[in-house]
Each structure stands twice: as C-alpha cells, then as structure tokens.
Symmetry: C2
DNA sequence: TTATACGTTTGATCTATGTCAAGTTTTTTT
DNA sequence: AAAAAAACTTGACATAGATCAAACGTATAA
C-alpha cells in the first residue's frame, strides 16, 4: 500500500534514499471499510492523511440532522480537518469511507518535522495546500454564480473520476441541492 | 504606512534588525483611491499584498455582467489572486478599493526568497495561508447549510469590523443573495 | 448649492428548488 | 435466494428568494 504513495512522491519530487526512508518511517497504515469513520465529530484530528486506495468524504451534520458534504477524496488525494489539526479543538466534521479504502497517516508533529528537515517535501506540501485553497475559492465562486444545473455540469466536468463512484445523494449534498433536484437534472441533462 | 505592517509583524513574530530591514527593502507602496483597481480581470497577479489602510474587495463578473464578491479585506489582511500568482495565468478576478486604501506589495519572487531566508517569516505566511483555507472551507459549509438570514447573521457576527464599511449590495453579493433580499432581511432582523 | 448618479427600500409578481409522499430499483444482509 | 434496507425516481404542491419596477435617500461632483 505504501507504493502508491511512493509513486506519488516520485512523480512530484526527487528524494535521496535516506530521505525516502525517513518519510516511510513515519507512515502509519490504516484500512477502513465502507461507511467506517476515519474521524468523528467531536474528536480531535491529529494527522496528515493520504488516500492510497478508495474513496472518502468529509461532511458536517446540521442541527436538523442533515449531512452537508464538504469534500471528497480518492487515490492520491489528501484529507483531514485542518481546522481541528491547527487549533487542537474537537472537529465539527465527520470523515468516513464511501468505498473500502486504504489510508496512510502521518502524525502531524512528525509530519512537520519531515517538512522542515526535507525542504523539497515541505515545499511540495505547501503547494498542495495552496492548490486546495485555490480550489475552495473556485468552489465558492461557482456556488455563488451558478444554477443547480450549472454546478452539476461543472462538477462532472471537473471530477469525472468521482462521478460514478459516488451515490447521487452525496453529490447533491456537495452541490448544496436536494437528491430529488439532482435526479431531475440528470433526467434532462442525460447521464453523460 | 510601513509602520502598520511593522506593527503587524511585531505582534506575530520576532525578527532581528537585519531581518526586519531585509523585509522592508522588498516592500513597494501603493495608494489606491476608492473604486480604483489593484488588479483587473485578464491581468496577471504577481504580488503578495498587505493592506495597511482601507478596505478592498475581490470579485468576478459573470457572463451576464453580474459581480460576485469573493472576498473582502481591511487593515492587516492580505489580498490577491493566488491562482493567477501560482499559475502565471491571467486572472479571472478583479480587485478594487471600497475606500481609499494603502497597500504594501511584495513581488512574489522576492517574497518567496524572504520566506526561505527568514524561516520564522515563512512559517508565519504559511500559517496565514492555512487559516485562509480553513476560512474558505467554513464559508463553503455556511453557504451549503444556511438560509439567507442565517448567512447574514453569521456574517455580521464574524465580520463586524466590516459591516459598516461596506455597501449593502456588496455584502449581498458576498452572501450570494440579491440586494433586495438583504434589505428585507435587515428590516426584520434589525440593523444590530 | 444644486444637480446627478448611485445605493437602498418597498411592493407585486415569478420561478427554481425544496418538501412531502409514494412507488421502484438497487444493494446489503441473512 | 429471499428478505430487508438503502438509494433513486417521480408527482403534486409549497416557498424562499429572484426579478422587475418605481420611489426614495444620500453621497459625489460641478
């Protein structure tokens, strides 16, 4: 399972054997079954986590018990709750597996040591963070400017790798619309 | 005008005189009048920018000519378009002044050198980036979960420093509602 | 100081999307 | 393979918020 991550690193940066070894030493492995939690609301999130296999979502639950999907991740994506990580406060989010998944965890303190001692690694992580920020800015813009149908079309355009792995209800939640509305949109738009 | 930034730095980190000097050497100063652009759609954004005085917004314009406010900034905030900065591509956003403002600019290449050569500074910047990311995640969650009224109440709660400096129409745009709707919400909710 | 433009309020409608409910299909469990 | 549980679809109806239009205030500029 580590080889997925090793491959990911190789594609992005060049490491000495020693550095690669150092990183590997910090990795913790975790398999989670479909619907199993990686993080539950109220717990503190202390990791940097890489998805080696599977599909995972993070979401909040509002006062009416309705789930709101904040994000999805598949192979080669990072997930977690940076707010809880940074603040040390209990998380307001849940993270669970949409499919049986494999995750590589790094405890955050060790991870920061790695970032500091292997600058090229730290730099890579920083880039990822910046991209996540940009992506969420774009999502905000899309949410503000677009109709339900436009948001859906943009979603399948951008996340084509996800579409067939996610139940309709989760996509609807991610887009901020009801499952019924998404079902009707799909009928008119075609399944693509 | 630099003293605002110096003060900001002092509150966050400790620098040697030499380091403080190095940073100052890279600063460019810019005054912009109300409604003047700092960035126009189509231009490439190449700076890291700190607001020393005033109030600034960034927004996009959709195909119908409607503006969508992505974010606001006041004294001690950073602004810019990280997507254009990182990609080198023309920006899809506009940034202009809501009030007469003063901005400190650092060309991004110099800024990165500073981050690398003064680790405590780089670390501070990184923290800010992380917080921005967290803030935008939270904004997404709010946009998904809340009604127009709840979004407005959360806004005045969180951005009380802004509320009286921004025209209603810009706040409405930021929240993704029409000015008419916000006007009606204010009527029922009271001006607070 | 007056004129002009810009922003806000208010009212009357309209519409995209939500809600509720019942059926159908698919997936999971036994 | 059958039963039970999720997930999805479809229809009828409800509503939050949008749109259009006109009047009213309040800054900006001549």
């Amino acid at each position: 399972m580590y080889d997925v991550f090793q491959q990911y690193l190789n594609n992005k940066i060049t490491l000495t054997d020693e550095e690669a070894f150092q990183i590997r030493q910090c990795a913790l492995f975790k398999k989670i079954r479909k619907r199993q939690y990686l993080l539950q609301e109220g717990d503190v999130w202390r990791y940097d986590a890489f998805i080696a296999r599977g599909c995972i979502r993070s979401y909040s639950i509002d006062e009416n018990g309705v789930e709101h999907v904040i994000g999805f991740g598949i192979e080669n994506w990072w997930i977690g709750d940076r707010e809880s990580l940074l603040s040390g406060q209990p998380s307001r989010f849940n993270i669970d597996a949409v499919e049986d998944s494999e995750v590589i965890l790094f405890t955050h303190t060790k991870f920061e040591e790695l970032c500091a001692s292997i600058p090229v690694f730290g730099h890579m992580i920083n880039q990822i963070l910046q991209r996540s920020f940009i992506a969420s800015q774009n999502r905000i813009q899309a949410a503000l400017s677009n109709t339900a149908e436009e948001k859906y079309l943009a979603f399948i355009e951008k996340y084509s790798a996800f579409v067939n792995r996610l139940p309709l209800s989760m996509i609807a939640s991610y887009l901020g619309i009801t499952p019924e509305t998404l079902s009707r949109i799909r009928k008119t738009v075609g399944r693509k």
